[in-house]
């Protein structure tokens, strides 16, 4: 499951992200963050963390920047 999710996210990274991506306001980028989170915390918590990160990744959030998986 975790591996499959990571595969999906990497598909996005390789395939879609170059088109409309490159907009991430964090480092590491949302997709990388999600992959790392899933690797570290498993499919369930990792995905949730990734989604939360995407939600935070909007122009109104002032606390952007370096935000690694803890």
């Amino acid at each position: 499951m975790a591996k499959f999710l990571i595969f999906l996210v990497s598909l996005y990274k390789k395939f879609l992200s170059p088109y409309f991506g490159g907009q991430c306001r964090f480092h590491p980028s949302c997709s990388t963050y999600m992959i790392q989170a899933i690797e570290k915390y498993g499919a369930f918590k990792g995905t949730a963390m990734g989604i939360w990160r995407i939600l935070r990744c909007n122009p109104f959030n002032k606390n952007c920047g370096y935000d690694p998986v803890k």
Binding site: L11, K14, F15, R25, P59, N61, C64, G65, Y66
Partner: protein, 528 residues
Amino acid sequence: MNKNFIIAMILSVAVMFIWSEFFAPKPDPEAVKKQQQEQAEKTADGAPKNIIIAEKPAANANVTTARLTADKTNPEKTGSIANEALELTFSTSGGKVTKSLITEKRYESKKVDLSVGLAQGAYFPAMSSVFGAEPSYELASQSAGSVTFIYENQGVTEQKTITLKDNFNITVAKTIVNNGENAVEWTPAVSFDSQFENSEILSSYNKKFKIVAQNAGGKFDELEDSGDIQDFFEAGDSVNWIGVNYGYFIFAVISPENKLHAAAEIDSKKNLSRFTATAEKIIVNPGESVTKEFSLYYGTKERELLKQKELGLEKTITFGWTSFLAEPLLLALNFFYGFLGNYGLAIILLTIVVKLLLWPLSNASYKSMNKMKALQPKLKELQEKYKDDKETLNKETMLLYQKENINPLGGCLPMFIQMPVYIALYYMIQNAVELFNAPFLPFWLTDLSEKDPFYILPISLGVMMLLQTKFTPQTADNKQAKIMMYTMPIVFTWISLMLPSGMTLYWFVNTLLGIAQQFYINKKYKNA
């Protein structure tokens, strides 16, 4: 894994998906025909199989019941009855409706005949008869919105009345008058056999039909094409309503007093479905007469009309998981349609409104883009410093942004936010009757729920998306990424070739607006 391998994987998955979705061999039309013939034969030699026959005397009943036969035939007569929404053409043979044309103003031009959803040999409204199969009636009386058939044999008279109420509401009633010597047993029932395989009243994108029912407790249940040869569904002894849900339309038997027993089955191999709503068995003694009436709904799945009945029929309008979005969007679309009078224009207006709602998001990102320009020298410095260490460079760049309190571009959320709208539109076009056969432009986009017949829109979309990538400031720096930039327009065009033109219209206008927005911002900040 190397990059080329991944690209190859994605492309092959995409090809397989699209092939199976759109080009996979459809059931052989010859075989379908044969099936239908076989079925017609089955129903021709005797009672139509969808009729519940009440001729068997109950074993433990202490009454002698008459065995009635319909050995007398009457010549066939035809005619039609109508209200503001429906025009039913009837035949006295079986007391059936042979054509059910929707004449309601809004759908008038579409010339929808609901009868095409019936299985071969089946008819509407099929109601159980004391004579076994419904006999060849005589025409008893006819008014603008109502017709009564009558059949008399062996001292027993059966009267069938079909009445059009308001909108798509119909009642079918039978009166049994027993002037014979024996009691007559009768189980009043209405049944509906449907086959939608080649039906033109279904969306090309949603060929599934479902039997839906709600029990007295308000519990909604549905039986979907499950892939099994036969499936059986007992909705229990007390049913609010049971119906067959075919895309934009529904046929339902309604029982506000919750007294019907309902049963249904789906034969997914033959694409047949049948349901029967049965009332309690009645014994009609000599000298007695009994009347039983069923309320039916036979028409479009319009929220307002279904809601009027206050029985939860509107639950049959489903947009899958996108409901939370599709429902307000449909409300907006209908509102725009109210003063624009065209769903194409309504979709364009909807696109503009969604874009405006997202304006603060995109505007904020463009503003920060401008601020970033001022930082260029500092960024160059960093780039020099960490030339060989990309990881650190990215990290340092981000730290710089953080320190200066600016945000590069918009972030990940804005770009995901459009997607659900697009997908909700897909569900909406399949299920909202308002969009069924909705024309936009004559000769070209005559039906927004079907694909663009000349592929003009998908190709223009691809061209516009390519232009957009040209105008968007590039953050990617290598050749590989630049090649990838062209994949999205190509993939989108490819998919759009097969999607409803209403969706392509949305994405096309959205892309145009995106380009316009880009130009506006570029100009504004250039002068600033």
